[in-house]
Assembly symmetry: C2
Homo-oligomer: 226 residues x 2
């Protein structure tokens, strides 16, 4: 469908323009922005819940959550202690830079160290829409199968970090971490893969370390000015 | 993004026109067409493998498989005994009626009783694109969580049947079948939910029964004319 491709290019170009503005704003305000992308149910929200409870003493954090419908995830994240703003896409398959720009009105960015953006559960479309973020994280989970990197290469190609969640289910799901890692290596040999279980807590320290290093790479947090 | 919505409507309208042509062709040729839609890794391919091996003696079946990349699923389905034709979308998030129409050239439809179309792994976009099918099946799986119907209502609203796969992992995944069924009921009280495990074989008889009844509803298969 060449017609489709032409139209999408125009939309992506307009999104890119807005995303560049967002990127400038994040840098000016000194906030690290990390986006999370995954299939439905891979564990993005659970990861943010764990992050909220474990890193709250070190960083001032907030989140934006995109879903087709309901504010369930936002309520979960907020209950865990991280302020969260819901975007309902009303059926839309990804977040766009314009939607994120509007949701940012909920926060005073210079007061934040880290902003997480949880995209709509979809391993395809969000990869095409830049949100101006500093880091992109793909969350995959063992029950989805170890062939996901080779079958959904675009998401993995654009990622800065891969979280492999639900390691507690790996054996029951006949999941091969070796096959998964080989698939990731074929796409990007430098992409870190962090094996975790949000349920048991296994490997979460590695994720917190990765987040802390990404924050350090951006420079020291701005001092509170009030 | 109102611009996006306008553009998509034009594309969907053109797709609907082609889908109506496909629907006429399926009816003329007397082949039942069932599409499968799900998140990545919910078990569409595994379900077709089981269907191939169990229903081959009763029905002449074939499949079309959509993926962003690789022909892994097509090879798996073919190995299980069901002829399968691959469509690689090259990053595209759903199958369109034009792509299906081209892939149909691989088959002589009057020689088939049932054609399965496995869509790209995506619980959002495929719901917007009619493929002229007789029946739509949504495959969900317990590790994705019991909140998927309420969080991705469009897919469930348009479905004729919901397969709840990986019941063998339900307990380990803290999955509540009651919560899942309540979510489905809120969207469509008449929608059947078939709980299965492709791994253990539990519940598969109910799926084979549903397929057989859908085939019977279309009328008797045409006699082979050669």
């Amino acid at each position: 469908m060449p017609k489709r491709i032409r139209l999408d290019k125009a939309i992506v170009t307009e999104n890119d323009r807005l995303a560049a503005e967002l990127a400038d704003r994040y840098d000016r305000d000194g906030v690290l922005v990390i986006t999370l992308m995954s299939s439905p149910g891979a564990g993005k929200t659970t990861l943010l819940e764990a992050t909220a409870s474990q890193l709250a003493s070190r960083f001032r954090m907030a989140a934006i959550d995109g879903d087709l419908a309901t504010d369930r995830d936002t309520r979960r994240i907020a209950r865990a202690g991280m302020p969260c703003r819901q975007i309902n896409t009303g059926g839309g398959c990804h977040l766009g830079a314009a939607q994120v720009g509007e949701a940012l009105d909920a926060y005073r960015l210079p007061d934040l160290d880290i902003l997480f953006i949880e995209n709509v559960g979809n391993l395809v479309c969000p990869a095409a829409f830049d949100l101006g973020e500093h880091r992109r994280v793909v969350v995959s989970s063992t029950p989805e199968g170890d062939d996901k990197p080779v079958k959904y290469p675009v998401a993995f190609r654009l990622a800065d970090c891969v979280i492999l969640n639900k390691t507690d289910l790996a054996e029951a799901a006949d999941f091969s971490a070796e096959a998964f890692r080989a698939g990731v290596r074929d796409i990007n040999a430098d992409l870190p893969v962090l094996e975790i279980s949000c349920k048991t807590g296994e490997g979460l320290a590695g994720w917190f370390q990765w987040v802390s290093e990404a924050r350090e790479a951006l420079g020291p947090p701005a001092p509170a000015d009030e």
